[in-house]
């Protein structure tokens, strides 16, 4: 973790985040003093912490201040892995939206209101969404409309409506539009039936029209009054709309992978045992594990149950959704399912290409699992072993990887409809290319299969 100001923390003049010696701090600037004091003294902070809705912080010595504007320095609890809304499945985005509205309702009870509603203010920690921006609260002034209403609709409501009513892949719009998809775009993409729901008709379609009508026209704040009841009504309506949103996943190639492939139970059992043994062999004991191509997280859970913080990454929205719902149901704190396409992982985006980190910037993991993955990268995506080995060496220090030979039924399936141009797809070339970047600690053939599991450690540079 690099020392210095966090590149994503610059929009709000109330303060900013900075890193020092592996820890994260937040400078609160003088203009925010009264709002911060209200947050702490009104009882709102305590209420949010007690319900685990907001990330807790400690106040520390002011000598760490990065500028003379500093009023206070706080040390928020560190979130080990930062994820972004375009990496979340439907239910994750829905839970993040509901958390934001719960916080807004609670804030109003204590005379405060959220001044922004960015989806980036929510992170997943210990299996639950949590709000991370302590400076998002400002004292509520009666009569004022909700300043973050537009942002809430763009960051949460529109993407959720698009995912639920049009296509779940449309959350990728969040990657293109860093402040959420514009409402006129969402309005044009949503099906006609969305206009039959009052909430979507008003918060998205009429909202888009209203934005168009009043574009570049100034507001006269003194004339614009909105009662507290009207504000509560608005929030209640948004909450109701989001709670009602459902996504019924269509059957995908991967959703029922383990049932569909009719995995040999002996092979599967042996593979599980091997992964467990390999994880125990790693020293020092891994704190973070990335399961790449995790499907619904069968193998991720071997690591997470050992108390290792595990990311369960997969390209398939149905698998990630199933995985997340299982995490919620079983209240698993150490596993975080996320939507990732390894052939095109999240890039660094935003201002100066630094605001939101790429996958590689968020690594490396102590250990990566690449089970039943190699053939998809090497054959479906044509990446040669000579490029796969350095990639893995960038994202992890230890690697548990499964080699699947061409004789395997799954590889045969990939090659069934195309010419076999993969002359280098051989165990020898796999071992020689990976041997350039990794030291092999173990390799075991999986019972009742033609596959081999390797335990590798990155070579010191």
């Amino acid at each position: 973790m690099k020392n210095g100001k966090v590149p994503s923390s610059f929009r709000d003049p109330a303060g900013f985040l900075f890193k020092e010696d592996g820890l994260i701090y937040r400078q609160i600037n003088q203009p925010y003093q009264e709002d911060y004091e209200h947050l702490m003294k009104s009882g709102l902070y305590r209420a949010l912490i007690d319900e685990e809705l907001l990330v807790p912080h400690d106040e520390v010595e002011k000598d760490r201040a990065k500028s003379d504007k500093a009023y206070k320095i706080i040390k928020p609890q560190l979130i080990p892995f930062i994820s972004y809304p375009y990496e979340w499945c439907f239910s994750q985005l829905k839970d993040a939206a509901l958390l934001t509205l719960t916080i807004q309702k609670k804030a109003l009870k204590f005379g405060m209101s959220l001044k922004d509603c960015s989806a980036y203010n929510v992170q997943f920690h210990n299996g639950k969404p949590i709000f991370i921006d302590t400076l998002s609260f400002q004292r509520y002034r009666s009569g004022t409309p909700w300043v973050a209403y537009r942002q809430f609709c763009q960051h949460f409501l529109a993407p959720l409506a698009l995912k639920s009513l049009r296509d779940t892949r449309l959350n990728q719009l969040l990657k293109i539009y860093i402040d959420g998809p514009p409402l006129d775009l969402a309005s044009s993409l949503l099906p006609f039936r969305s206009r039959l729901k009052f909430s979507l008709l008003s918060h998205i379609h009429l909202h888009a029209k209203s934005q168009e009508r009043f574009a570049n026209k100034p507001v006269k704040p003194r004339r614009a009054k909105m009662s507290r009841v009207a504000l509560l009504g608005l929030i209640d309506n948004l909450e109701g709309a989001i709670k009602k949103m459902k996504w019924h996943p269509k059957k995908t190639e991967w959703g029922d992978y383990y049932q569909a492939t009719n995995y040999d139970s002996h092979a599967l059992g042996h593979k599980k045992e091997l992964v467990e043994d390999f994880l125990e062999m790693i020293t020092p004991r891994p704190r973070s594990v990335w399961d790449l191509g995790a499907n619904t997280g069968l193998f991720s859970r071997i690591a997470s149950k050992k108390g290792m913080r595990t990311l369960s990454l997969d390209i398939d929205p149905v698998s990630v959704e199933k995985n997340y719902l299982e995490c919620c149901e079983k209240r698993e704190p150490n596993i975080l399912p996320l939507l990732f396409d390894l052939t095109n992982p999240s890039p660094s985006i935003g201002w100066e290409n630094k605001e939101r980190m790429s996958l590689l910037e968020r690594g490396p993991a102590d250990t990566a699992l690449a089970l039943a993955l190699l053939h998809h990268l090497a054959i479906s995506n044509n990446v040669p072993f000579s490029m796969l080995a350095p990639f893995f060496s960038k994202i992890c220090n230890w690697l548990i990887i499964e080699y699947i030979p061409k004789s395997d039924s799954q590889v045969k399936r990939l090659l069934a409809t195309r010419e076999d141009i993969f002359t280098d797809y051989k165990k020898e070339s796999f071992e020689s290319e990976f041997g350039k970047f990794f030291d092999f600690h173990a390799q075991v053939d999986i019972l009742n299969s033609s596959r081999t599991l390797y335990l590798m450690e990155k070579k010191p540079r």
């Binding site: 400002q138 704040p221 003194r222 009504g233």
Partner: protein
């Protein structure tokens, strides 16, 4: 914010017109200078007295503002009715509960 902006713009326009006037006699020039000084002072006082608009950091968008006001009344009324029913239900529920306990 917008109101503040308009007030400032008005004052600036006045200042600009004053500066653009042709050269006049010394006395008139002094008068103009004093007026300018007053305007600057007035502007400074105006900025200190009028607090900065609280929502300066995020642009709420005019369209979003007006839509909230438009639907806010209706949603507020619906919310009030909802709360009213909830209270009645809770009240009846509690009556029922007490009866059960009494039995």
């Amino acid at each position: 914010m917008v109101l503040v902006y308009y007030k400032i713009k008005k004052q600036l326009l006045l200042t600009q017109t004053l500066l653009r006037l042709p050269k006049l006699k010394r006395g008139v020039q002094m008068k103009r200078f004093r007026l300018l000084l007053k305007l600057i002072l007035g502007y400074a006082i105006f900025l200190t007295v009028v607090p900065p608009y609280a929502y300066a950091y995020l642009d709420p968008g005019t369209g979003s503002y007006f839509l909230q006001l438009l639907i806010g009344g209706l949603l507020g009324a619906l919310f009030s009715i909802k709360m009213f029913w909830k209270n009645i239900k809770n009240f009846l529920g509690s009556l029922f509960k007490t009866k059960k306990v009494n039995k």
